[in-house]
């Protein structure tokens, strides 16, 4: 039978496009013939703003890229600046940074898995995930006063030291989380319908995934053992014991399982960080002729010059953010502001593969595959 092509505009206002992404779908009944993502509805010119703000002023803007996990964004930019200016960081500061980033990884995966399941029609997981996320956000709030946009990691260290009562609460969270992840597995993983919806959906081969520039859990779901924390170590990751979670299937289910496993690994890392946290109170670098932070925690930003000029040069610095490789390319011309800031965001690179993933599948599969790619639109559009 002949059937007319149906053109559907999915988004930018749609319950499951995670923000303002728009898909142009050419449909044959329920099957997708062609899918074109239309980006840019959330474009805020962040990279251009980077050229107009001083190095310190730009850090809050990085919070707004991937707003689900803002610590790694902070850190990625700060790491670039530190490499540019050759700033050394005290060990305790590095430990605190890794602590925040791994906590943030758990938060990110909770949101990711939760919204994936909500898109599949099982709304319970996101509520459970947000219950634990709330505990983590309260920890963040204790640390720096903010729940989502932190502006916490500064060149040379972090803004404030860990407050009293933080560590017991963190330990409680770690203990609690262990059990909760088992709960999630029982709720989701033991469900036959979930397997039906996820397995062999949105399959991508390792080669294609690499060619599309995939990184992070999405790439590791396709069987590529690639994790910057392990193979291009930064911060204190060389000292930590963790394994890279890889699955070989390359389908939506594999990507989901990788995220589940990574949450456990993050818990493992967090426990090591808690155990080995250096006792010194030094959380900000003494370089640039500033007194190191000692004694009671107060605002430390005053110890670091508001305006500083790194030597001319350029640097590309990348980290393993929860969603994949997050890179900042910063060019300094020796003034107080960067000459150029280019952001290589994982969401954007991962999203580009969507058309090839879903062509020939159905709309529900598009939702499932899109959910496992874990995209935040603030990160895509910048």
């Amino acid at each position: 039978m002949e059937s007319d092509e149906l053109l559907i505009n999915m988004g930018p206002v749609h319950p499951s496009t995670h923000g303002v992404l728009r898909f142009k779908l050419r449909m044959d009944g329920e099957s997708i013939r062609e899918c074109t993502p239309v980006l840019g509805h959330l474009h805020r010119g962040t990279e251009k703003i980077g050229e107009m703000k001083t190095y310190l002023q730009f850090i809050p803007y990085t919070d707004r890229l991937d707003y689900i996990s803002a610590f790694p964004n902070n850190y990625a930019f700060v790491k670039a600046v530190e490499e540019l200016a050759g700033i050394e960081v005290p060990l305790r500061a590095e430990y605190i940074r890794v602590l925040t980033m791994e906590l943030n990884r758990i938060v990110n995966h909770l949101v990711s898995i939760g919204s994936l399941l909500m898109d599949l029609g099982a709304a319970t997981m996101i509520m459970w995930g947000f219950r634990e996320r709330e505990n983590a956000l309260q920890l963040f709030e204790m640390l720096c006063g903010a729940r989502m946009t932190f502006n916490y990691i500064k060149p040379g260290g972090v803004r404030e030291d860990i407050p009293d009562g933080f560590m017991p609460k963190l330990n409680e969270f770690l203990k609690d989380m262990e059990k909760r992840i088992d709960d999630y597995e029982q709720l989701i993983n033991g469900n036959e319908i979930f397997h039906m919806r996820m397995k062999n959906i949105g399959v991508i081969s390792a080669k294609d995934a690499v060619n599309y520039g995939w990184t992070g859990p999405t790439l590791r779901g396709s069987g590529v053992d690639y994790d910057l924390r392990k193979y291009e170590p930064y911060s204190i990751y060389p000292d930590l014991d963790f394994k890279v979670c890889v699955r070989n299937e390359g389908d939506s289910f594999a990507r989901f399982i990788v995220r589940m496993d990574e949450m456990r690994e993050s818990l493992h890392i967090l426990r090591q960080v808690v155990d080995n946290m250096p006792a010194s109170k030094e959380i900000s670098s003494a370089k640039y002729g500033i007194a190191p932070m000692t004694g009671t925690p107060t605002a430390v930003s005053s110890y670091f010059p508001r305006i500083f000029t790194p030597p001319p040069g350029e640097v590309y610095s990348r980290i393993e953010a929860p969603k994949g490789e997050l890179g900042f390319y910063v060019v300094s011309d020796g003034t107080t502001k960067p000459y150029r800031v280019k952001i290589r965001s994982p969401s954007f690179c991962n999203l580009t593969a969507i058309p090839s993933l879903v062509t020939g599948l159905k709309i529900p599969d598009l939702i499932a595959a899109f959910g496992t790619i874990d995209v935040v639109l603030g990160d895509v559009d910048r």
Partner: protein
């Protein structure tokens, strides 16, 4: 005891001693049929109010059950434990602007909510809520129920088509495909029950399930027809259009499915119909497989109290099924439409046919 509620009301009026004076009064005027009409209208009014209250309660219950599963409180502000939340929702929906999209087919667009709401109420006519508590004991009761439920796909298709919205249309097409493919196993497993009773009357079906085997196992058809029960339950949940089969809405894919474009009271009517449907389908499951209002101990109860007690029994069983449906909704994801159809046609219908065949064989063999 009584064939239907009409006779029950007449009996009660007689018991109080006011039936004859009233009847004589109307007879004097030569319009005794008016009394009959009044009694019937009272019945309908009671049923209507009961269903509306049930639906309101169900919306509250749904939120509370979801909240329980998801470690939340649910509505807590309006009324004690949020019990008045449905009233507030109703008030809000009445206050909303009634929007008809510019390019919609106005007549069909307006007609569809009524066409889905009225059958949802009509289904209750041959449902026995308790002993003597039935509006009309039709001799084709079960057939009537299945036939009336089959109207809703037409209304859904009308709503989806008339909205002139692609999501609505897709939701409607899905809903119709699903309804058609799940009505068949539903009817087939119901027929297996009818083979036992030899009657389509719902009262006969319930009466056939009273009594016990060995003195403690109630004679419910769930024990004779376990496979039939499971098939019927799954098909019922598909009929209700709830997760894992909520393709008519599938909000994360099709925004809100066939009622995307509806607002205000028209939206409310879809909503009410959905919950009325939830109640009626659960009630049918109870009637067919869980013994309806009958329980083993009912014979020990004074005859005057039987209608009330049986109503209570019926409601407890129905709410158990409803709770199961709500619980299921909170724990499983949605299936995909092709998977759903595959299961419907390739697994459910063959199984239902086999079940019917085996039942027929056993019954025929038992006759010799």
């Amino acid at each position: 005891m009584f064939a239907n509620t009409y006779e029950l009301i007449v009996f009660i009026l007689n018991f109080i001693g006011i039936y004859n004076p009233i009847n004589d009064f109307f007879k004097m005027l030569g319009i005794e049929y008016v009394l009959r009409i009044i009694i019937v209208l009272v019945e309908i009014a009671v049923l209507f109010v009961f269903i509306l209250l049930t639906v309101m309660f169900l919306t509250w219950m749904e939120r509370k059950v979801v909240a329980m599963v998801q470690a939340r409180y649910g509505p807590m502000v309006t009324g004690p434990r949020g019990l008045l939340q449905p009233v507030m929702d109703g008030v809000k929906l009445i206050g909303k602007e009634d929007i008809i999209p510019a390019k919609a087919d106005r007549w069909i667009f307006t007609l569809a909510p009524f066409l889905i709401f009225i059958p949802a109420l009509l289904v209750f006519i041959p449902l026995p809520f308790g002993e003597s508590l039935i509006i009309s004991d039709l001799n084709v009761g079960l057939l009537y129920i299945i036939a009336i439920s089959a109207i809703s796909p037409i209304a859904i298709l009308m709503a989806g088509w008339a909205s002139n919205n692609k999501y609505s249309l897709m939701g409607a097409v899905r809903a119709v495909a699903q309804d058609i493919s799940y009505t068949i196993p539903l009817a087939l497993s119901a027929i297996a029950v009818v083979l036992y009773t030899g009657s389509l009357s719902t009262v006969d079906i319930v009466t056939a399930q009273s009594g016990t085997w060995f003195g403690f196992i109630p004679k419910w058809f769930i024990f004779l027809q376990p496979l039939g029960f499971i098939l019927f339950l799954i098909a019922s949940i598909a009929e209700m259009g709830r997760i894992p089969f909520d393709f008519q809405e599938s909000e994360s894919e099709l925004v809100a499915g066939f009622f995307t474009e509806y607002s205000g009271m028209k939206f409310a009517m879809f909503f009410l119909a959905e919950y009325a449907h939830l109640f009626s389908v659960s009630a049918i499951v109870v009637t067919l497989f869980l013994g309806g209002w009958s329980v083993p101990f009912l014979s020990f109860i004074p005859a005057a109290l039987v209608p009330l007690v049986s109503l209570g029994v019926f409601l407890v069983k129905t709410y158990a099924i409803i709770f199961f449906a709500m619980w299921l909704r909170d724990t499983v994801p949605r299936m995909r439409i092709d998977q759903l159809l595959k299961i419907g046609w390739k697994i459910m219908i063959p199984l239902a046919l086999i079940n019917l065949l085996v039942t027929a064989f056993i019954l025929t063999a038992g006759r010799f």
